[in-house]
């Protein structure tokens, strides 16, 4: 039941942010919604009720490292799509590995 709640809440919040991202202009501003805290909001809300404030705060601390890994990922996307003119779908999916490597690096350097 908890997984279903997670799925529905996550889907709803992510969709809501995506819709806002579609209607705001100019496009350079709409891009900010690609890094909206949608998954974080859904997860932290549920974590708060199931595990408590301190557990949620610990998750939020790790989220900072995840956000910097996300920054490295988006900069790589800008380079490969904007400069190398590679297609969006394979580029953005393949570069998820960059997020993983950076997140793992930040975790081992600062959080472990």
């Amino acid at each position: 039941m908890e997984l279903v709640e997670r799925f529905l809440l996550g889907g709803l919040i992510v969709s809501a942010f995506a819709v806002v991202g579609e209607v705001v202009r100019p496009k350079s501003f709409a891009g900010l919604f690609g890094a909206a805290p949608s998954v974080a909001l859904a997860t932290l809300t549920l974590t708060l009720f199931t595990e408590g404030k301190h557990y949620a705060a610990l998750e939020a601390r790790s989220m900072i490292a995840g956000a910097f890994a996300f920054l490295g990922y988006t900069l790589a996307c800008v380079y490969f799509m904007g400069r190398r003119h590679l297609r969006a779908a394979p580029t953005t999916v393949a570069l998820l590995a960059v997020w993983g490597i950076l997140a793992l690096g930040f975790w081992s350097l600062f959080l472990r």
């Binding site: 908890e2 997984l3 997670r6 799925f7 996550g10 889907g11 992510v14 969709s15 995506a18 819709v19 991202g21 579609e22 209607v23 705001v24 202009r25 100019p26 496009k27 350079s28 501003f29 709409a30 891009g31 900010l32 690609g34 890094a35 909206a36 805290p37 998954v39 859904a42 997860t43 932290l44 974590t47 595990e51 404030k53 949620a56 705060a57 610990l58 998750e59 939020a60 601390r61 790790s62 989220m63 900072i64 490292a65 995840g66 956000a67 890994a69 996300f70 988006t74 900069l75 996307c77 800008v78 799509m81 904007g82 003119h85 297609r87 969006a88 779908a89 997140a103 975790w107 472990r112």
Partner: protein, 140 residues
């Protein structure tokens, strides 16, 4: 340049594209929860900033831009990829606001009312995102 709302943007999106985002959002929220349960909150928390939705958003932007150009009689264009890159540049600014969102919750959630902190963190994310976008516009 002013920030405005253009509801016509909603008409560009097909129902299956909404469904994709809903399913992806739901899936990543479930997966994040499972990772946190298995590996603990320190590892699980990293995935709160996983770019789960970004690839589908960038792909749709490229597709919509390509279709727009095709309708205008331009069969091959780089415009879609450049539009997706522009979206990524915006998201890069958003990630810094995302880090601030996490930092505020990390520091203040254990001390104050959760609803107030979540609302404040969301307001901080939006304010920082707008501020950084405006600074970048002024600098360019």
């Amino acid at each position: 340049m002013r920030i405005r709302f253009n509801l016509a943007g909603l008409k560009q999106i097909k129902w299956n594209e909404y469904l994709t985002r809903f399913l992806l959002g739901g899936a990543i929220t479930v997966i994040t929860g499972l990772i946190a349960k298995h590996f603990g909150p320190v590892v699980g928390g990293l995935f709160l900033a996983f770019p789960a939705i970004f690839p589908s958003g960038a792909t749709l932007i490229e597709k919509h831009e390509r279709e727009k150009k095709r309708r205008a009689g331009i069969p091959r264009t780089m415009r879609g990829r450049l539009a997706a890159a522009l979206d990524a540049r915006g998201a890069a600014l958003g990630t810094l606001a995302l880090a601030a969102f996490g930092a505020l919750i990390w520091q203040l959630l254990p001390l104050y009312n959760a609803a107030v902190i979540f609302t404040g963190a969301l307001a901080l994310w939006l304010a920082l995102a707008i501020l950084m976008w405006r600074i970048r516009k002024l600098a360019c």
